[in-house]
C-alpha cells in the first residue's frame, strides 16, 4: 500500500462494507429477535426437535434422537381421563428444541410464562421430559407457552408413551429429517405466498411461526403444490402411502419421484418387500396387461416412510 490513495481507499471500503453489513445483518436480526413465538411456532419446534438437518446426534440424517408426538386422553401419571392433549415426549438423551435451550428466542411474554408456570428451566435432557403447549390470557391477549409436564404434573416419558396407542403416536421429528434429506423442498415449498396463495394453499405463515425451528426448508423453486397446510387438504393415510410408493398410481401426470426406497426391507406385517417383483407387475399394469396395479405394502412403524407420512399429515 505504497500509495496514499490506497490507504484512503481501504478505509472507505471498510466503512462502506461495514455500513452495509450493519444494515443487512444487525438491524434485521435485532428486529426479528423481538418477535414473539406463536402457538404454531411452539408446536412446530416441539414436534421437530432441535435440528432438522445435520447434527451431532444424527450425523447421517436417519432421524435419530428425535421426540415423539402423542395425542393422549388419559393422564400418564394418575390414569385419570383428561381433555385430549397433544404431548411432546423427549426420551432421555433426546436434545430439547432451541426454545427450551435458549428461551430468549421465544420472545418476551412466551419466555416469561414458559419459565414461570411452564417450569421449562427444570427440564433435564439426561432425564428426558414431556412438554405440552398451553395458553394464558395476558391482559386480553392470548399468549402460548411451553409447559414442562414432567415438572408440573409428574408425567415421565415412558408413562406418556404407554398411554398413547400406535395410532396416536406420530414420529414428526424423524419425518422432518426425511423431508430435508430427501430434498422434498426442491419441489415443494413450505411457504404460501402472501400475495396470492390464500385460496389454493391456505394462509401464509405469521412472523412468529418459526422461532426455534431449524432449518425452515421454505424451498425456493416451486414445481409442486405448497405443503404448509397439506394435512388439512388431504388427510388420507392410504392415499399418502400409494402416492409415496409411486406417485403415478394416484396421479398419472405427476413428476414426483418414487419414494419406495423409504419403505426399508420389511412391511408392517414383517414380510420382506419384493421391490423387483412389484415393479415388474407395475410395468405390466402400465402396459395394460393388468387391470389393477399391484398392492402397495404398508410401511412398518419404524420405517422412514411411516415417519415421513406422519410429518406430512401433521402439516395443517
Amino acid at each position: 500500500m505504497a500509495f496514499r490513495e490506497y490507504t484512503i481507499g481501504v478505509r472507505m471500503f471498510g466503512l462502506a462494507f461495514g455500513t452495509s453489513m450493519f444494515i443487512t445483518l444487525y438491524m434485521p436480526a435485532s428486529d426479528i429477535r423481538n418477535v414473539s413465538v406463536t402457538e404454531t411456532g411452539l408446536e412446530r419446534q416441539l414436534s421437530f426437535g432441535r435440528v432438522g438437518g445435520f447434527s451431532y446426534e444424527d450425523p447421517l440424517l436417519q432421524g435419530k434422537a428425535k421426540p415423539a408426538t402423542v395425542d393422549i386422553t388419559e393422564d400418564p401419571k394418575t390414569g385419570a381421563p383428561i381433555e385430549p392433549t397433544r404431548a411432546y415426549v423427549y426420551a432421555s438423551g433426546v436434545p430439547f428444541p432451541n426454545g427450551i435451550r435458549h428461551p430468549m428466542i421465544l420472545g418476551k411474554k412466551p419466555m416469561e410464562l414458559s419459565l414461570g408456570q411452564g417450569k421449562i428451566s427444570m427440564a433435564d435432557e439426561a432425564q428426558g421430559a414431556v412438554f405440552v403447549v398451553r395458553t394464558e390470557d395476558v391482559g386480553g391477549e392470548t399468549v402460548g407457552y411451553i409447559e414442562n409436564a414432567t415438572a408440573t404434573r409428574g408425567w415421565v416419558p415412558e408413562a406418556a408413551m404407554k398411554v398413547a396407542t400406535q395410532e396416536t403416536t406420530h414420529y414428526i421429528g424423524k419425518g422432518k429429517i426425511m423431508f430435508v434429506r430427501e430434498g422434498c423442498w426442491w419441489c415443494h415449498t413450505l411457504l404460501p405466498e402472501q400475495t396470492q396463495d390464500w385460496q389454493y394453499f391456505g394462509a401464509p405463515p405469521m412472523l412468529g411461526d418459526f422461532n426455534g425451528e431449524s432449518p425452515t426448508a421454505f424451498g425456493s423453486d416451486r414445481k409442486a403444490p405448497d405443503l404448509t397446510h397439506v394435512g388439512s387438504r388431504n388427510s388420507s393415510k392410504e392415499w399418502m402411502i400409494m402416492h409415496f410408493f409411486n406417485p403415478r398410481l394416484v396421479q398419472p401426470h405427476s413428476i414426483m419421484p418414487r419414494y419406495d426406497y423409504l419403505w426399508g426391507e420389511n412391511d408392517a406385517a414383517g414380510n420382506p418387500i419384493d421391490f423387483d417383483g412389484w415393479r415388474a407387475e407395475y410395468d405390466k399394469y402400465v402396459a395394460n396387461e393388468r387391470v389393477y396395479p399391484p398392492e402397495v405394502p404398508v410401511p412398518a412403524k419404524d420405517s422412514e416412510a411411516h415417519a415421513l407420512i406422519d410429518f406430512v399429515l401433521n402439516l395443517k
Binding site: Y6, M12, A16, F17, S20, I23, T24, L25, P28, A29, I32, R33, V35, R50, G53, F54, P59, L60, L61, N98, I105, V180, R181, E182, C184, W185, W186, C187, L191, E193, Q194, Q196, Q199, Y200, P204, P205, M206, L207, D209, F210, N211, G212, E213, S214, P215, T216, F218, G219, S220, R222, K223, A224, R248, Q251, H253, S254, I255, P257, Y261, F275
Partner: protein, 468 residues
C-alpha cells in the same frame, strides 16, 4: 502435480498452480453440467432411473448446483487470479507452492463435501447446504489460502498503481470470506427461524453479488484490453462499478424472500437497493463495450473476445431482469417459478460462464505457451454453449410464465405440471448440448497441452490464431 507439493518454491515453474486450476475447473464443469443434464432428465421423465435413493432428484440437485458454483466457476476464478494478478503486478505469484496445495485441497474438499451432500447429509439450507465441518474446511483450507496468495501478490507487485481487475480480486476474496463465515453462522451458532431463513438468502445473494459477479467482471476487465490491445475505456467508470458493487450489491439480500413474513421495512429497503444494482451493471457493460471500439471484428474472429463479449452482452438482460423482477410489482407473479431458474442460469451459465471460459482459454494458452489445438473445436464449443443455453433459458422462461399464470389464476396444480412438460424436455435438450460442448472443450485443451504449436517468445497466443 504431486511432485510439486514438496518441491522448493524456486523449482516450481511459474503458472503451475494456474494450469492445475484451469484443468480442474474444466473437469468440474463437465461433472457439474452432466449432473444438471441428469436432473433435467428426471424432471422431464420422472421414471428415468427411479427407486434408487442416491440417484433421486432430491439427492442430486444440490450436488449439481454446488459442483458448478464451487467447482467450475470458483476454480476458474482461482485460475484467473493466479495468472492475472501477477501479470498485472509485473511480478510472480507470491507462492506457487501454496497455489498447488490450494488446488489439491480444493479438489479433495469439494469432492468430499459433494459426496456427503449426495448422501443427503445436508444442513437443509439452499446454497449453504454443506454441513459446518465442510464449511470450515472451505473457509480455512480453500478460500483463505487463495485470498492470502492474491493479497500478497498484489502487495509485492512491481508496478506503482493497482489495475481495476486487481481491486476486484483483492476485495472479492476478502468479501467472500466474510460472506462464507457469516452466512454459515446459523449452523455454528444454531440461529433459528426467520433469522436463519434470512441469513440463508443473505448468503446466497452475497455469494453471487460479492463473489461471482465482480470477479467475473474483473476477468473481462483484463481480457478485453489485453486481447484487443485497446486501453480500458475509462478508469473512472471502473471506480463507479467497484464502489457501487460494494455499496448496492451487498444490501438487497431480503429480495429473495419477498413473500415471506419478514419485516416490511427490510423487504422495501432490499427492493430499492435491488434496483440500484443497475448502477454497477450499466457501468460495467458500457465500459467494456466502449473498450471494444474499433476492434469489433475481433468479436467474430477471436475466440476469447467472442466468449467475453457474449458474456458481457448477456449481462444486459440479466440485470434488467434482476433489477426489476425483485420489485413487489413483478415478484409476486414470477416468484418461485421456472422464470427464476432461467434467470439463475442466465447469470451463471450465460453471463458468468462465458467470461470464465474466455479466461481459461486465454490463460491456458499463455501459460502453456501453446496455441489452441483447434480453433474449429473452440468455435463448436462456443456455439454448443450458446445454443444450448438459449434453449434452456427460453424454455424455462416460458415454463415460469405458465407457472406464474397458474399460480395467480389458482389452476389445479397438476395442470401446470402437464403444461410445463414440453419445456422440461426442451431444457433437458439444451442443457445436454452444454454438457457435450464441454466434453469437446476438455479434449481440445488436453490436445493443446499435448500437441499445440509452441508460441514463440514475445508473441501472444491470439496473434497466431490463424497462422499455421
Amino acid at each position: 502435480m504431486f511432485k510439486y507439493l514438496f518441491a522448493k518454491e524456486e523449482d516450481i515453474p511459474a503458472g503451475s498452480a494456474a494450469v492445475f486450476f484451469g484443468f480442474s475447473s474444466i473437469l468440474w464443469f463437465i461433472v457439474g453440467t452432466g449432473l444438471g443434464s441428469f436432473n433435467a432428465a428426471k424432471l422431464a421423465f420422472p421414471d428415468f432411473v427411479t427407486g434408487i435413493e442416491m440417484l433421486s432428484f432430491g439427492h442430486m440437485r444440490q450436488v449439481h448446483v454446488l459442483a458448478v458454483i464451487l467447482g467450475w466457476i470458483s476454480m476458474a476464478f482461482a485460475m484467473a487470479m493466479m495468472y492475472i494478478t501477477p501479470a498485472l503486478g509485473n511480478t510472480k505469484l507470491w507462492s506457487e507452492k501454496l497455489g498447488v496445495w490450494n488446488c489439491l485441497i480444493w479438489n479433495i474438499g469439494l469432492a468430499l463435501g459433494l459426496t456427503l451432500l449426495w448422501f443427503g447429509i445436508t444442513s437443509g439450507r439452499e446454497y449453504s447446504d454443506m454441513i459446518w465441518p465442510i464449511d470450515l474446511a472451505l473457509i480455512f483450507g480453500i478460500l483463505l489460502p487463495l485470498a492470502v496468495n492474491v493479497w500478497m501478490t498484489i502487495k509485492t507487485r512491481r508496478t506503482q498503481g493497482i489495475y481495476t481487475t486487481n481491486w476486484f480480486f483483492g476485495a472479492a476474496t476478502f468479501m467472500v470470506l466474510i460472506v462464507f463465515s457469516v452466512g454459515n453462522s446459523p449452523e455454528f451458532f444454531q440461529l433459528t427461524g426467520l433469522t436463519e431463513a434470512y441469513l440463508t438468502w443473505w448468503f446466497a445473494h452475497n455469494v453471487l453479488g460479492l463473489w461471482i459477479t465482480p470477479v467475473a467482471a474483473a476477468i473481462s476487465y483484463y481480457i478485453v484490453p489485453k486481447v484487443t490491445g485497446n486501453p480500458l475505456y475509462s478508469h473512472r467508470i471502473g471506480h463507479l462499478h467497484f464502489w457501487s458493487v460494494v455499496v448496492f450489491y451487498s444490501t438487497p439480500a431480503a429480495h429473495h424472500l419477498m413473500s415471506a413474513p419478514l419485516p416490511e421495512w427490510l423487504k422495501s429497503f432490499a427492493s430499492v437497493e435491488g434496483v440500484l444494482i443497475l448502477v454497477p451493471a450499466i457501468a460495467f457493460v458500457s465500459n467494456l463495450l466502449l473498450t471494444m471500439s474499433g476492434k469489433w471484428k475481433m468479436f467474430v474472429e477471436n475466440v476469447e473476445i467472442k466468449f467475453t463479449i457474449t458474456g458481457v452482452l448477456m449481462a444486459i438482460p440479466l440485470n434488467m431482469q434482476g433489477g426489476f423482477q425483485q420489485t413487489r410489482a413483478i415478484n409476486w407473479y414470477i416468484h418461485g417459478t421456472g422464470w427464476i431458474v432461467a434467470h439463475a442460469h442466465l447469470a451463471l451459465l450465460g453471463f458468468s460462464t462465458f467470461l470464465e471460459a474466455a479466461a481459461v482459454y486465454y490463460g491456458l494458452q499463455t501459460l502453456l505457451r501453446r496455441k489452441l489445438y483447434s480453433l474449429a473445436l473452440a468455435n463448436f464449443h462456443f456455439w454448443m454453449l450458446l445454443v444450448g443455453f438459449t434453449t434452456y433459458w427460453v424454455s424455462m422462461t416460458i415454463a415460469g410464465l405458465i407457472q406464474g399464470a397458474g399460480k395467480i389464476y389458482e389452476v389445479p396444480y397438476i395442470d401446470v405440471v402437464i403444461a410445463e412438460h414440453p419445456y422440461m424436455i426442451a431444457r433437458w435438450v439444451g442443457g445436454t448440448m452444454v454438457f457435450l460442448g464441454n466434453c469437446v472443450w476438455l479434449y481440445n485443451m488436453w490436445m493443446t497441452l499435448r500437441a499445440g504449436t509452441l508460441i514463440p517468445a514475445g508473441r501472444l497466443p491470439h496473434e497466431l490464431a490463424y497462422e499455421r
